[in-house]
Symmetry: C2
Subunit: 149 residues, 2 copies
DNA sequence: CAAATTTATATCGTTCACGATGCAAAATTA
DNA sequence: TAATTTTGCATCGTGAACGATATAAATTTG
């Protein structure tokens, strides 16, 4: 028999992992018509907030490393959402900018957050309580982010 | 400028996704010496709780599909953690059982949950509040799980 | 019982996540 | 200024997720 602490149902991380996966699944019907994936949607969020950013800034905001972000951006360039130009001041940098297509998607995407929150509310019965996790999740993320030494 | 709702900082899903990734990262120093990944650890948790289960039962408990679980189990069989035998009553089934190696790891793993919770407490300053998210995460997961029609 | 449907698993292709490594352009130091 | 270190990005390989599709064995239906 298993040790009590080794039961799946006692694992916080498993819940985070599952909740993240399932929530991303809810985005599917909204992102598929736009031809983008959830991580690509996150990149667009970053660029819609401020266009023309180097790869490292995007990576930092997404809390990912460049070895994840670079291929992601390459795919997005290939599908015509962004351009990647060399930095003028620092020629190591790649400045990522939205194409017209990338900009245009924002109009179609602006209702997604509301749709999502409606969907979640409908399915869980209580979105209120779920939104209340946000500050705690931030605390967790902030704590874990530091530990990387 | 971005619509307010389209800011990365306003996204719940992004937090779940990031929190899950970073928390899995905390497992690394414990799982690496055992030669397993986090999803493989989850499979072992399921099998330690009850040995000899068909793929579909494992998949259901992990809330994943067989197209994710099958290759995962194949890799685990390759590394000598499990065996996969044909079901006797239902020959479509693959019964997954722990090898001696798979069983032996349980002893080394039994301290992981406590280590994790210590690490998280140390890094966040307050594990109490984080553990309190569990019922809400369960509510969210339960809600989203149903929606798949 | 035969036909149709469902179930259990597997395979394939694409996209991510991430450790390890490489490289050239800055920035720092001696 | 030359040598060293750091930074920004890219590449490679492996392991996941997951949609789509396939196949054979059960199960249900007609």
């Amino acid at each position: 028999m298993a040790y009590e602490q080794l039961k799946l149902e006692n694992q916080l991380c498993f819940r985070l992992y599952t909740a993240a996966r399932l929530t991303m699944g809810v985005y599917h019907p909204y992102l598929d018509p736009l031809g983008i994936t959830y991580p690509q949607y996150l990149v667009l969020l970053v660029l819609w907030e401020q266009d023309k950013q180097p790869v490292c800034d995007i990576a930092k905001k997404m809390m990912l490393d460049t070895n994840t972000v670079t291929p992601l951006l390459q795919r997005m360039e290939k599908s015509g959402l962004i351009n990647r130009t060399r930095g003028k001041e620092d020629s190591r940098q790649r400045i990522v900018s939205l194409t017209e297509k990338g900009k245009a998607i924002q109009e179609q995407a602006k209702h997604i957050p509301e749709c999502l929150s409606n969907d979640v509310a409908l399915k869980t019965g209580d979105a209120e309580e779920i939104v209340k996790m946000i500050p705690t999740l931030d605390k967790l993320i902030d704590g874990l982010k530091k530990v990387e030494q």
